[in-house]
């Protein structure tokens, strides 16, 4: 189950800066570990995170193996209008997770 946690206020004043915190459940296997018999464990990580605000991408990040497991990404965006914030994570081996939040901007 691609579990994610997104924390963002559901209401804001126009022009206010929204503090957004996201967590994604993922082991983020680096590709640098080995089994006890010496075989390399292949890389399996989230490679990209993006946030869209009413369809416009306002933030994105490329993730590398040095990101900790169950990655936390905190960022900001200006509350411009009411609508939907969509969050998407994609990664190796077809990993995909999504979450959306409605926000009311007065």
């Amino acid at each position: 189950m691609a579990r994610v946690v997104v924390t963002v206020p559901d209401r804001a004043r126009r022009g206010e800066i929204l503090q957004i915190r996201t967590l994604a459940g993922h082991d983020m296997e680096t590709g640098f570990r080995h089994t006890q018999t010496g075989e390399r464990i292949p890389r399996d990580i989230i490679t990209r995170f993006a946030c869209s605000y009413n369809g416009v991408e306002v933030f994105s990040a490329d993730l590398h193996p040095a990101m900790a497991a169950n990655p936390l990404i905190e960022f900001t965006t200006v509350a411009t209008e009411s609508g939907t914030l969509e969050f998407r994570w994609t990664g190796d081996n077809g990993y995909s997770a999504a979450h959306s939040v409605s926000i009311r901007v007065d």
Partner: protein, 156 residues
């Protein structure tokens, strides 16, 4: 009766033997420095990187290198004409130098990101901010990474 000195030697030996398993090339530090320079060059295209305007926050002594909280904040009005376009984070001692590259823009309001990184060994962490005018600014912090005292895989 186990003396204190003997206790510490035994405990230290238990930790050291677990860490000494990997066969690393003798010039590993030089290889990693070269990889870091190359990764930075790929991001900047060879443009000069000036220290300043960027604040990289990291705990100086980390509890565990598996999850090191870090935050990067950049001084910028974040207007359409003058904003931070991207923030890139690198490490000096990891097997590969990149951590994260975040794309911002005027809609961010503030140029600040926070996350948690894996840091393999004590050394430098580098944050580079790419501005809308094409300039690059940076900050660098040295961290000390300690190991947990009782490693789970210690028997192998």
């Amino acid at each position: 009766m186990t003396t204190r000195r003997r206790f510490l030697l035994l405990a230290g030996g238990a930790v050291a033997s677990a860490a000494a398993q990997a066969q690393l090339p003798p010039n590993i530090a030089a290889l990693r420095q070269a990889a870091l320079q190359e990764a930075v060059r790929q991001v900047t295209g060879g443009a000069p990187v000036r220290p300043g305007r960027v604040k990289l926050e990291l705990p100086p002594l980390v509890d565990n290198g598996n999850a090191v909280p870090l935050a990067v904040e950049v001084e910028s009005p974040m207007t359409a004409a003058d904003h931070v376009a991207a923030i890139h984070v690198f490490t000096e001692k990891n097997p590969q130098p990149r951590v994260v590259s975040a794309r911002l823009g005027p809609r961010a309001g503030r140029a600040r990101i926070a996350t948690r990184a894996r840091i393999a060994d004590s050394g430098a962490v580098l944050a580079i901010a790419q501005m809308s005018d094409g300039s690059f600014w940076s900050d660098s912090v040295s961290v000390v990474v300690t190991l947990s005292a009782c490693l789970e895989d210690g028997l192998i």
